[in-house]
């Protein structure tokens, strides 16, 4: 394709132009596919009044890695859109929860599948859609529903992003990506929903064309910047989860 490589030299450079007030999504489900290195770079960068989108706010698992809760503790966050403001186990307390409960940070709690579909819709030019999820619950109170073929559905709006931070196993210089196992999770849909997608990549960036077009998971048109993750300890990598004492 003769295009320039999308690789940038450092995580700092990749996030340098992010303005205050941006909406940024983070891929990842538990450890796999979470852009730990980009989150750390964003903490150093210091952008403020951010709206963050992710499955969880982090902090439920040990060892703790860079997460939304740390950005909140760093005073950078105005609002979080996520599927958990509290942990699944009531006895676990997320670092984020106290900021939310005190009103310092806003949150919009969204069912996980609705979150994924709102991102997909944003990337696919669908402004809103109807879903059976959350009908009859507190989340649907005061909101538009519609009966279609005898079943009630809730209207949900697309969720467009300024930036998506994602993590992949392999990339070529054109930004084509492959993920490994459950590293994929939200990453492909977030990439389509963002004006600028930044991918941290496990392996050395390959020349354009080195990934067979049939084997691409996320097309390079959705990916704008690539950074290779250096080996540990300089780079952050998923670790084995430690079971917490109960």
């Amino acid at each position: 394709m003769g295009q320039k490589s999308k690789q940038v030299a450092s995580f700092q450079e990749a996030v340098a132009d992010i303005p205050d007030g941006s909406t940024i999504a983070f891929g990842g489900f538990a450890m796999p596919g979470t852009p730990f290195n980009l989150i750390r770079a964003l903490m150093e960068h210091g952008a403020k009044r951010l709206t963050l989108v992710a499955n969880t706010t982090g902090g439920a698992q040990q060892p703790r890695m860079p997460d939304i809760g740390m950005l909140v503790e760093n005073g950078q966050v105005a609002k979080v859109i996520c599927a958990f403001t509290a942990a699944t186990r009531p006895t676990d307390v997320l670092p984020f929860t106290k900021y939310y409960e005190s009103g310092e940070v806003e949150a919009e709690l969204v069912p996980q599948g609705t979150l994924a579909e709102r991102l997909r819709a944003a990337g696919a030019g669908i402004p809103a859609f109807y879903t059976p999820t959350a009908v009859g619950t507190e989340l649907a109170e005061g909101r538009e529903t519609r009966v279609i073929n005898g079943r009630e559905y809730l209207l949900e709006y697309a969720l467009p992003l300024d930036y998506a931070f994602i993590r992949a196993r392999r990339a070529d210089a054109a930004g084509n990506l492959r993920f490994h196992r459950s590293q994929r999770n939200f990453n492909p849909v977030m990439a389509t929903a963002a004006s600028c997608t930044i991918a941290e990549v496990d392996e050395a960036i390959l020349p354009a064309g080195a990934i067979d077009p049939d084997d691409v998971h996320t097309a390079g048109i959705f990916v704008h910047r690539l950074v290779q993750v250096p080996p540990a300890p300089e780079g952050l990598w998923p670790t084995k989860r430690q079971e917490r004492a109960r």
Binding site: F29, A83, E117, P132, V135, G136, S182, K240
Partner: protein, 226 residues
């Protein structure tokens, strides 16, 4: 949480009883906690495909120590293995599988279940926000919703109730409820007791159950695996 605190069968036995419902060829989603234990149950040569909300279809057991793939987890964040024939899809496709009605059964924990088949598992009384995860999508769209819970709270209050006073996850969706006391079916007018755990009497169960308890004409002992 102590195993001896509660009467009746233990957690693995509750999970076993639910797993016995799984039929050959089903696609099943297991929630975090006791539901995960359904995958330990010996159900003979029935072929079950386990779906995890993060897009893993066809996962197997937890990986042995030292052989974990740190980029492969189930919904509970455990490093699992893949069975032959497994596939991985992204999150929007994974929930398309759920909303699209391709999940034969989902198994979830809950705080409360009502006789109308409503259940609550994402928010406690007085809590701001909560933890929804994929529960509302699964509850609204799986073909069958199996709920596992301990029959009473730590204070001895019923979890099977006439109507949920906690915010619900979905309404009218629960197919079966397995507790340490027995196996129940919400019928709309009450809970139908179908199987009873060893050591329990119908009267004890009635005293610990909200709403109306009816007893199946063919009431039997709680079935065990193996």
């Amino acid at each position: 949480m102590s195993e001896t605190r509660q009467k009746g069968v233990n957690r693995q036995q509750i999970a076993d009883r639910v797993a016995l419902e799984f039929q050959d060829g089903w696609i099943v989603n297991l929630g975090v906690g006791i539901p995960t234990m359904c995958s330990n149950t010996d159900i003979g040569d029935r072929d079950i495909t386990y779906h995890s909300e993060n897009g893993v279809i066809g996962y197997g057991g937890v990986a042995p120590a030292g052989e974990e793939d740190l980029n492969l987890v189930n919904a509970g964040g455990q490093n699992v293995t893949l069975k032959p024939g497994a596939a991985v899809v992204h999150h929007a496709d994974s929930f398309g599988i759920i909303r699209g009605g391709h999940i034969d059964a989902t198994v979830m924990g809950a705080y409360q279940v009502s006789m109308r088949g409503d259940f609550a598992n994402w928010k406690l009384a007085g809590q701001k926000g909560g933890g929804i995860g994929g529960a509302m999508d699964l509850a609204a769209c799986a073909k069958r919703v199996f709920i596992i819970l301990e029959h009473v709270t730590r204070k001895g209050e019923p979890r099977l109730v006439e109507a949920c006073d906690l915010p619900v996850t979905a309404r009218g969706v629960v197919t079966l409820v397995a507790t340490n006391y027995g196996l129940f079916e919400p019928t709309g007018e009450g809970f139908l007791l179908r199987e009873i755990a060893p050591g329990l009497t119908v009267e004890e169960i009635r005293a610990s159950t909200g709403g109306t308890l009816t007893v199946a004409p063919n009431l039997g002992p709680m079935r065990m695996a193996g």
